[in-house]
Amino acid sequence: MRKPFVLVMLILACALTGCGHSYHWTQSHPDYRQVPYGDLAIAGTENAFVLTRAAWFAKKLEISTDSVQLKVTSFCEQVFLDELKRAYPSFTRIPKEIHKAFPEESQKLDDRIFLKGHIPEQGVVVKDSEGKIPPRILILHEFFIGTDLKRELFFDYALIHNESADKKTSKNLSAVISYTLWDNEKQRPLFSAVDEVQKSIITPTMADMESLIRTSVQQIRKNMYAGVVR
């Protein structure tokens, strides 16, 4: 006799408090049947990387504050591309100007999660730097590097205007990445996601940065594999 009573109370408590919100961080097209294998083009790496807490990083990495943003992001981009090259040997790049010309749009992943980026037009086929038409393009929208970053603070529209407290200590080096796998043949987004990668550190070094980027690429690949509609 007690059990239904407890159950009713639980349901009531749940209804009153809302029981917490769980996010969907990925979105697959119903026709996303096959993960890219060997053959991939990449777009958007030139503008995607952003280093947060630049002054703190400048101090820790012993780079001048003026050039830390440029140096770290170009280093990270290079590591990112190298790591992709290992995974997809015949990978090509979409020129910066072409990517910039894509219209800027937002994509909905969840009730509250929207990612923003340059996405090709419907009916327009994108060509890579060699003039060939790649079947799939990984479009990197944003790649935030920082410490103890939380992806909901960047992508949940209800939270993005919250100011985070200034922190003295940092436990993790982190990356928040948003990207879309684009079907260039049919001009549709196959898979979109926002990923978060955390790596515990004591003091950050360039080697830590490198390993963070490598882990991120692995995370992206894992996610693209998990997102396939079966």
């Binding site: 119903p30 026709d31 996405i119 037009e121 419907q122 043949e185 001009q187």
Partner: protein, 421 residues
């Protein structure tokens, strides 16, 4: 012979399947009377003939009036529309929901929204099939889409499209002024909450001593109790020691809500309860019937909120709390042949003149077309005596009050009439 029949039926089945094609989704675009249908194709030549298609429409839908059909040259020359048309041709697949076929380019969206009451029929030949999609001004994605099998005959194809996608009921096209009026009309769902809504209703329901989801042993002694010798029970704290607790309940009520939030309600409730006489007691041989009519008058305070579910239905969940006075009127009769009743009959139990109690519960009103309502409610009602009197030295000597704590659970539904003041 049998084999031939099977063969014929297989061929027939195949033929019907081939004729029917496949409809991916159909969200019923508005069918206007005397419509203007714009045939839009990315192909060099449309797979159907506009003039013949108009005739097909008239053959298939008698209510369609005089349709006008033409090729949609404006969009066929527009680069944004051409790109979307080519994209659509590539992406029309059976598993997709309409949102996956949505136009993304702002200029294309604007074009679709500017269609007013014209219907765009997108038709293209896709391999051995003909893909069909229908657009109207209300969405930036196709309202209906599907495929048909290609067989080269433009007239037959037009007939198939007309019967598959244009067979619905038609509506008169609005004039310019009517469209303007519709666009500026306030949304029914955003109308103001009326200051005061009144209602009257009659209801019927059921009540019992046991409250659902509570243990049986709270009630067992009251429910099983029987009356011996017209007055003896194990205890008399609840009226359900004497009376049968479960039975129908009738009510009449009237009330009102201010600002859609707080309400007051006057309620009258009636029920009839038989006395639970002990059948083994021979003293009752003289008795024909013995029952009590329960009359209750109460006043409830309601807290509510109205949700307009559709244009014609408002749902108002509410919680109520109130007090009531209960009167139990005895109705007793002896058998015709009894000349003189027993002594016990003369000194039988008497209830209090009135009991005071409380009502608490929740419910919901479903009001159709702002006037005709169905009310459902459930709750707990109590009857007792004023317990706030100071104890006196004589208290122990005084007889105990019968039914000082009588509680029951009720559920009821009613028909209501609502109006706004």
């Amino acid at each position: 012979m049998n084999r031939l029949l099977v063969l014929i039926s297989i061929v027939m089945l195949y033929a019907t399947a081939a004729f029917a094609g496949e409809t991916y989704f159909d969200n019923h675009p508005t069918m206007w009377k005397d419509p203007e249908i714009l045939i839009w194709t990315p192909d060099a030549e449309p797979p159907i003939d506009p003039k013949e298609f108009c005739l097909s429409l008239r053959r298939n839908n008698t209510g369609i009036g005089e349709p006008k059909c033409r090729q949609f040259g404006e969009w066929e020359r527009d680069s944004v529309a051409v790109r979307y048309a080519n994209w659509l041709k590539l992406n029309m697949e059976s598993r997709l929901e309409p949102e996956y076929l949505r136009a993304r380019h702002p200029a294309m969206k604007a074009k679709l929204q500017e269609l007013e009451d014209k219907i765009v029929l997108f038709v293209t030949s896709n391999g051995n099939k003909i893909s069909v999609a229908i657009f109207d001004e209300t969405a930036t994605e196709p309202k209906s889409a599907g495929t048909l099998f290609q067989h080269g005959d433009k007239i037959a194809l037009g007939d198939e499209i007309a019967s598959e996608y244009f067979s619905g009921k038609t509506r008169r096209r609005l004039t310019k002024d009517e469209r303007k009026k519709m666009q500026t009309a306030p949304d029914d769902l955003y109308q103001e909450v009326p200051k005061f809504v009144a209602w009257v209703g009659i209801g019927a329901g059921y009540s019992q001593a046991k409250i659902p989801l509570t243990p049986d042993n709270w009630y067992r002694s009251h429910i099983r109790s029987q009356v011996r010798n017209y007055r003896i029970t194990k205890d008399s704290v609840s009226l359900w020691n004497f009376l049968d607790d479960s039975g129908p309940l009738f009510s009449v009520y009237a009330g009102g809500t201010w600002y859609g939030f707080i309400g007051l309600e006057l309620i009258y409730r009636f029920a009839q309860h038989d006395v639970k006489t002990d059948s083994k007691d021979t003293v009752y041989k003289e008795l024909d019937y013995w029952k009590f009519y329960q009359h209750e008058i109460g006043l409830n305070v309601l807290l509510s909120r109205t949700y307009p579910a559709t244009k014609w239905l408002d749902i108002t969940p509410f919680a109520f709390l109130g007090f009531q006075y209960s009167f139990f009127v005895e109705d007793i009769g002896l058998k015709d042949d009894v000349v003189k009743p027993s002594r016990a009959y003369g000194v039988r139990i008497e209830f209090e003149e009135a009991y005071k109690g409380a009502l608490v519960g929740i419910g919901s009103q479903f009001v159709f077309k702002k006037h005709y309502g169905i009310g459902l409610r459930t709750g707990i009602s109590s009857r007792g005596r004023n317990v706030y009197s100071d104890p006196t030295p004589d208290a122990a000597a005084e007889p105990t009050t019968i039914g000082a704590s009588t509680i029951d659970w009720f559920i009821s539904g009613g028909l209501e009439y609502h109006w706004t003041l």
